[in-house]
Every structure is written in C-alpha cells, then in structure tokens.
C-alpha cells in the first residue's frame, strides 16, 4: 500500500480516537478538538491567507484572496456580536482583545510585511504548510513564536514609548445594531473597492 493511502487511513482514525478519548472525560475539549480539525481542513482547502489578500491584489490584480478575507470578516461579525452581547448581558467581562492603536500598529504592520515575504504567507499559511509536511516551515514557526513572545513581553514598553489612542469598542459607542451596520457598510465599501481594482486590472 502506498504511504499516502496509509496516512489517509491512519491519520483520520487517530484523530477520531483522540476525540473519543477526550469525549469520555472532557466533552467540551473534544468539541474544540473537532472544531480545530475542521478549521485546519477548511484553511488548508481554501488557501485563505491574509498576506495573499494584499500581495496578490497589489502585485497581480487578483482580488480573490482579499474578497475571501472580507467574506470571512463579514461572516464573523454577527457571530462575534452574539458571543460578546451574550456574555456582557450576563454581567461578564468583554471577551476578546481590544488593543490601542498608534504608531506601534504601523511599525508592527511593516515588520509583519517584511517577515511575510521570505515566509511566503501569514501565520495561517505557515501552520497549513507544516500540516502538509513542509518541514522548512518549522523555521518560520520558530521565528513567528519568538517574535510573538518578544512582542508580548515588550508590548507595554513600546506603547509607553510611542503613545497610543485608547481602544474603541464600537458597540459601546454606536450600540450593537449601529456597530453591525457600520462595520457591514465598511466591509461592503472595501468589497466595492476591490471589485473596481480587479476590473481596472482586467482592462489594463
């Protein structure tokens, strides 16, 4: 039997066995395990990549990846709103991470952009490539983790040094319907902009 066929039989069986083992004592963890596997499969098949969204639009006029990212954001909007509103409604703290915006954001974006060129993509692509068996992407993962750890460790110092605006939680300012409409409109406008950019590329 060919190694690919063996792997195709063994890996799903092993994943199912782990899921069953988790389900015995920790059903919630088993659910997360299943969702994680589904997410990995979806990311691998869709080739969703934040870097490709920008790179391919600008360099090649291919706006497909950028549209996919916009669609993912649009689909996640009501989901996030539901989760956040439910937890806040029960008197819990606001879930998710709200970070201040400032010069630091720009510096981080430029550093990320530089790093993504030799890496060939974003963190999602790196994880997917490792999952597909490309060992050299392990080096990218090491760099990614080292950068993230260093960034997290020095974050407060950088914010203090460069200054930043206070984080804004839109539903706190506009209310939930207003925030959803505003964010939906913004994504729609970006979609129209991409459509225009794609057509412009086709005409050239």
């Amino acid at each position: 039997m060919r190694p690919r066929v063996v792997l195709a039989l063994v890996l799903p069986s092993a994943a199912a066995a782990v899921g069953w083992w988790l389900y015995q004592d920790r059903p919630a963890t088993a659910l997360l395990w299943g969702l994680g596997l589904l997410l990995g499969w979806a990311l691998s098949r869709s080739r969703l990549c934040i870097v490709a969204a920008f790179r391919d639009s600008i360099l090649f006029g291919d706006t497909g990846p950028a549209m996919a990212v916009l669609l993912a954001l649009a689909l996640s909007l009501p989901g996030f709103a539901f989760v956040q509103a439910s937890i806040i409604g029960q008197g819990g703290p606001l879930p998710g991470s709200l970070s201040p915006v400032g010069p630091l954001t720009l510096v981080g974006a430029v550093l990320f952009g530089i790093g993504s060129v030799p890496a060939g993509g974003c963190a999602i692509t790196t994880l997917v490539r490792i999952g597909e068996g490309h060992v050299r992407f392990l080096f990218t993962l090491v760099g990614l983790l080292a950068g993230a750890l260093l960034g997290a460790y020095q974050y407060g110092w950088w914010v203090g040094l460069t200054g930043a605006l206070d984080p804004v939680h839109l539903p706190g300012v506009l209310g939930w319907p207003g925030a959803l409409v505003a964010e939906g409109l913004l994504l729609g406008l970006l979609g129209l902009l991409l459509r225009w950019w794609s057509r412009r590329g086709m005409e050239r």
Binding site: R47, D56, L59, D62, G120
Partner: protein, 78 residues
C-alpha cells in the same frame, strides 16, 4: 517531441514563482512553452489565473503529493 525549458521553482514561495514565470514567458516565442515545477499551491493558482487573464495556455499536472508541473504556452496571437 517538443523540447521545453524547465523552470525549477521547488522551494520558492509566492510571489516569486509568478514573477519568474512572467519573466520566462517574455523570452518565449509565440507557441513555445515553459515547464514550471512548484510545491507552493498558491503559486499554481496564481500562474493559472495569470495565464487565463493574459490568454496564454496552461496545463497543470500533479507530479507527487504537494508538487505540481505547470506547462505555460505563450499565446500565438499578440
């Protein structure tokens, strides 16, 4: 059998493969082909979409798991 130039892009990540293919196709005469070998899935999509947009021929063959051979043929009518 027609002889094609082969572009070994194994190990190269986007956007390098498409940039190299565009450069190679510029040096081809109409009807000539270049064979590209890549192991970056995104590159296969980028190359085939670029060919479709520019009117060049494009044939994709899977070599092994995670490796593709893309034959790009320069369009005959400029």
């Amino acid at each position: 059998m027609t002889e094609h130039s082969v572009l070994d892009l194994l190990g190269e990540v986007c956007p390098v493969p498409l940039l190299r293919v565009r450069e190679a196709v510029e040096h081809l005469s109409p009807g000539e082909s270049v064979v590209v070998e890549t192991d970056f899935p995104r590159a296969v999509r980028n190359i085939s979409q670029w060919c479709m947009r520019e009117g060049h021929g494009c044939q994709i063959d899977g070599l092994a798991s995670g490796t593709w051979q893309v034959t790009v043929t320069r369009k005959r009518i400029e």
